[in-house]
């Protein structure tokens, strides 16, 4: 790819690894280049290995990429973890002399020792500016516009005063200065050509969900803190007050979903965000929302399970829990999004579907997506479609009685909202008749169960839940979900550039499963591959159960997302088998 550069900064939590990446990211966005970040950090509050990777390009970026071109190692551990990826042609910028390690021989690797700690301590007398020294060195080495870098540093620190800004400028300059005076550039890597600044906003995955909720009209949010979902609430607290809404920290997840069910009954758009363990606790009240036919959005930012598992790590293994959690026949809608921009729009879709079909919608994202940062085109609120539930306005006509659960062709009935004359009804989790009175006779049970499922029976046609790309008659077709989609997109580009015939299907709605789209997609390809970041192959299992397709599973469950090269390799293998007629 033209000028596609991946800079990986690695070190210890608390060393400024993450903030260095954020500054690079922002500088890149200001320079008008495409940029996506990838980060991982440990569950510990301080210490432990942390990584912040920034990928910049002249072309739109689809995934976090395979590995790095440039490694900036802040310490020995960071070096040790990444040294196997120091292949010929890559670059190593490291803390030397004065750092805590000396790298081995790496033939073909461009090595740039920069005494980051030493400069920070001796020249600037502040160890904390080490990451800024490194940033300055990197900017000088690869030609990153110093002004943009400084302007993002300015905007970040100006709240703490100009002195703080100056201190950081000084550190940046010291790093750049050292490079200029002491090092000779031997590598070919240069920052992409800058373009005019675009109308973009920089959002983290969770921020995008928060802004999406606000845009959709969410005015009540209740949650219980859990990694990696908590920051959705962090971003919303003040914003919610500004739109006359409220973010409530409940006593537990059961309470938070209960709060949302109550708020929805009261007529207000509402959402909660949690991760696996919290989703489990919410199951019973998700069932209540199904039975009471209340709109409600639950965001599950997946992390490695089972149990407490790996709270900060990537996993896509809550699909079964989302589709099948909650007892009884519970029609609900499960969506998943694949990148930051989609987090924004998919959250709005989740609200729209919830409102239209009066049922809970679970939106799946994950730990990597939660902290992935992208610069996305600034949304235009006037172009965004917002759906609101059909509210019964009340009637004063003699003898007319409000039928909250009126059986209709679509299955959707008018909702009564407290404060409306003539619309009073008592919702109940018990099976009920059209007027919401509890009933257990076989006719009512059958009729109401069918009504609830009818609401979402035709969703695949009413709401286009899939995207497709690639050759119309491909040898290998890939079906993926969530963040993996963004990796598959890049893999498909590479494979097609190599002349292989491949196609991909990207379902955005996973439940109800878009059966028709999957059937017709697989009919157009010879083999179907389903890569997923879970052990069981949960989507592959759903496909096997609900369609005639028998997909090939491809699973990673190591706490990290796929990389495009893995998908490319796997598809090539399948392609060869296919060609050989195996």
């Amino acid at each position: 790819m033209p000028n596609d550069l991946i800079i990986r900064i690695a070190g210890e939590g608390g060393e400024g690894v993450i903030s260095s990446g954020d500054f690079l990211m922002q500088a890149a966005a200001r320079l008008g280049v495409e940029v996506v970040t990838f980060k991982t950090f440990p569950s510990e509050i301080k210490g432990g290995y942390a990584l912040s990777q920034v990928r910049v390009s002249e072309e739109p970026i689809l995934s976090q990429g395979d590995s790095f071109n440039i490694l900036v190692a802040f310490n020995g551990e960071a070096y040790a973890v990444n040294k196997k990826s120091l292949t010929p042609g890559t670059v190593l910028v490291y803390d030397y002399p004065g750092g805590d390690f000396e790298p081995e021989e790496h033939p073909g690797v461009h090595k740039y020792p920069v005494p980051m700690s030493k400069i920070a301590k001796d020249v600037l007398t502040s160890y904390i500016s080490k990451n800024m020294v490194a940033l300055g060195a990197v900017a000088e080495l690869f030609g990153i516009g110093m002004e943009s870098l400084k302007s993002s540093i300015h905007d970040k620190f100006i709240k703490k005063g100009m002195e703080m800004v100056e201190t950081n400028y000084k550190a940046i300059d010291a790093g750049a200065d050292y490079v200029r005076k002491n090092l000779k550039k031997t590598d070919p890597f240069m920052f992409p050509t800058t373009r005019p600044r675009k109308d973009t906003i920089i959002l983290e995955g969770n921020q995008a969900v928060a802004l999406g909720a606000l845009t959709a009209g969410c005015r009540f949010f209740s949650c219980y803190p859990i990694t990696p979902a908590t920051s959705i609430a962090n971003y919303l607290t003040e914003l919610m007050l500004q739109v006359n809404g409220y973010v409530y920290q409940a006593e537990d997840e059961i309470a938070s979903i209960g709060n949302c069910v109550g708020a929805s009954f009261a007529g207000v758009k509402t959402m909660t965000a949690t991760s696996g363990p919290g989703l489990d606790l919410m199951s019973e009240l998700i069932g209540l929302a199904v039975m009471a036919e209340l709109p409600l959005v639950i965001v599950d930012v997946q992390r490695g399970g089972p149990s407490t598992g790996m709270p900060t790590k990537h996993d896509q293994s809550d699909l079964f829990a989302a589709c099948f959690g909650s007892h009884g026949d519970t029609p609900k809608i499960v969506l998943a999004s694949s990148d930051v921009e989609e987090n924004f729009y998919m959250t709005i879709e989740a609200f729209n579907l919830a409102e239209q079909y009066q049922t809970p919608v679970i939106l799946l994202t994950d730990a990597s997506l939660a902290i992935r940062v992208e610069a996305i085109p600034t949304p235009d609120p006037s172009k965004i479609k917002i759906v609101n539930r059909t509210v019964y306005q009340g009637s004063i006509e003699e003898g007319e009685k409000f039928q909250r659960y009126k059986v209709t062709e679509s299955g959707v009935s008018p909702i009564g909202v407290p404060g409306t004359f003539g619309a009073a009804y008592a919702a109940t989790g018990l099976e009920h008749s059209e007027d919401s009175g509890p009933r257990t006779n076989p006719e009512t049970r059958t009729m109401m169960t069918e009504k609830r499922w009818r609401k979402i029976a035709n969703l695949e046609n009413e709401w286009k839940p899939v995207e497709r790309e690639g050759d119309s008659d491909a040898d290998v077709g890939i079906i993926s979900w969530g963040l993996t989609q963004s990796v598959v997109k890049e893999a498909v580009q590479r494979l097609r550039a190599k002349g292989l015939k491949v196609a991909a299907l990207y379902p955005k709605m996973l439940w109800p499963l878009p059966v028709k789209a999957i059937e017709s997609f697989s009919a157009s390809v010879n083999k179907v591959l389903v890569p997923e970041a879970n052990y069981q192959g949960q989507l592959a299992e759903l496909i096997s159960a609900k369609t005639s397709v028998k997909p090939v599973k491809f699973n990673v469950f190591r706490g990290e997302p796929f990389i495009p090269a893995e998908i490319v390799k796997k598809v090539e293998e399948l392609y060869e088998l296919e060609k050989a007629g195996v």
Partner: protein, 300 residues
């Protein structure tokens, strides 16, 4: 939105607060009297039923909202309090009361009580305490007396009963009362005061279950009940309230002991929703936000 919830022009008679559905409770169930008392309180306050919601959990007692003409939500076992909290925080102008059983409130839903109380959310919590799990057919509840036989404790329960009054005082409820279903007029009056109270109000109503609890009956309680109204003038005196509340279970050990009813404690404190309202003003809350301006705060 401003709604008129209490309005003396709404001249509904108590029975007009009932829906057309007939209760399915056993004859002689204490919960009939509680329903009547709620209707009386609503009538004398002029509650507009279109602006009121009764929220319940699961249990015999929790069926109550289904028999009423107002909005209702018969939710899940133990979860009425969070459901009501969500309603109140999203629609503070509504009157929201919770009507649940002792098992629901103190056992499965016990974790929610401290938080609703300490936050002083403007809700009225009415617990129909029959000292038994009735709907699941006779298991002991957290308020069952020691030695009570239930289907799972045929030998008599080993547990000591908890005292909901002292608990709610400790949790920080700003209105704590006890009533007896055998005295619907007094009960109605206490419910009225609880609804009028701005903040978290709690009433434990002793509401006998003649079907499954043949010890704690109307007949058992009637001679033991006494009103604390005369000897307890200063209702803001928490220590005094606590001592009186402590004595509420004495009768389980001492046949001579009396059972106090009335308002034990009542103090005025800012409600949670009034504090939220202040925050909304502080952060310049508006119903017509400029989304574009909000997005621009994230500009690259």
């Amino acid at each position: 939105m401003e709604l008129t919830v209490l309005n003396n022009n709404v001249q509904l008679k108590p029975k007009e607060y009932r829906s057309t559905i007939e209760p399915t409770w056993c004859p002689g169930c204490g919960d009939f009297a509680v329903t009547a008392a709620i209707c009386n309180a609503f009538s004398s306050l002029g509650v507009n039923p279109d602006n009121a919601v009764l929220v319940s959990g699961i249990g015999c007692s929790s069926r109550l909202p289904l028999w009423m003409r107002s909005f209702g939500f018969h939710s899940c076992h133990g979860r009425a309090v969070p459901v009501a909290v969500g309603m109140k925080l999203s629609r503070p102008e509504l009157l929201i009361a919770i009507t649940i059983g002792d098992g629901d409130a103190y056992s499965i839903g016990g974790g929610h009580l401290p938080h609703a109380a300490r936050r002083n959310i403007d809700l009225t919590l009415i617990v129909m305490d029959n000292q038994i799990y009735a709907l699941t057919k006779k298991q002991v509840s957290p308020t069952s007396r020691e030695g009570m036989k239930g289907s799972l404790t045929p030998f008599g329960t080993l547990d000591s009963p908890m005292n909901p009054l002292t608990l709610m005082l400790t949790y920080g409820a700003t209105f704590v009362a006890q009533a007896f279903a055998g005295n619907p007029k007094v009960t109605g009056d206490i419910i009225k005061q609880a609804i009028e109270h701005k903040g978290f109000s709690f009433i434990n109503i002793i509401s006998p279950c003649p079907t499954f609890n043949t010890i704690d009956t109307f007949e058992y309680y009637r001679p033991r009940i006494y009103s604390i109204e005369d000897l307890h003038a200063d209702k803001t005196d928490r220590i005094n309230a606590y001592e009186l509340a402590e004595s509420s279970l004495d009768h389980t050990k001492n046949p001579e002991a009396k059972v106090p009813v009335g308002v034990f404690y009542k103090v005025d404190k800012p409600t949670y929703d009034s504090k939220v309202a202040v925050l909304k003003v502080k952060y310049k809350g508006t119903d017509t936000p400029d989304l574009k301006a909000i997005y621009n705060r994230f500009r690259a």
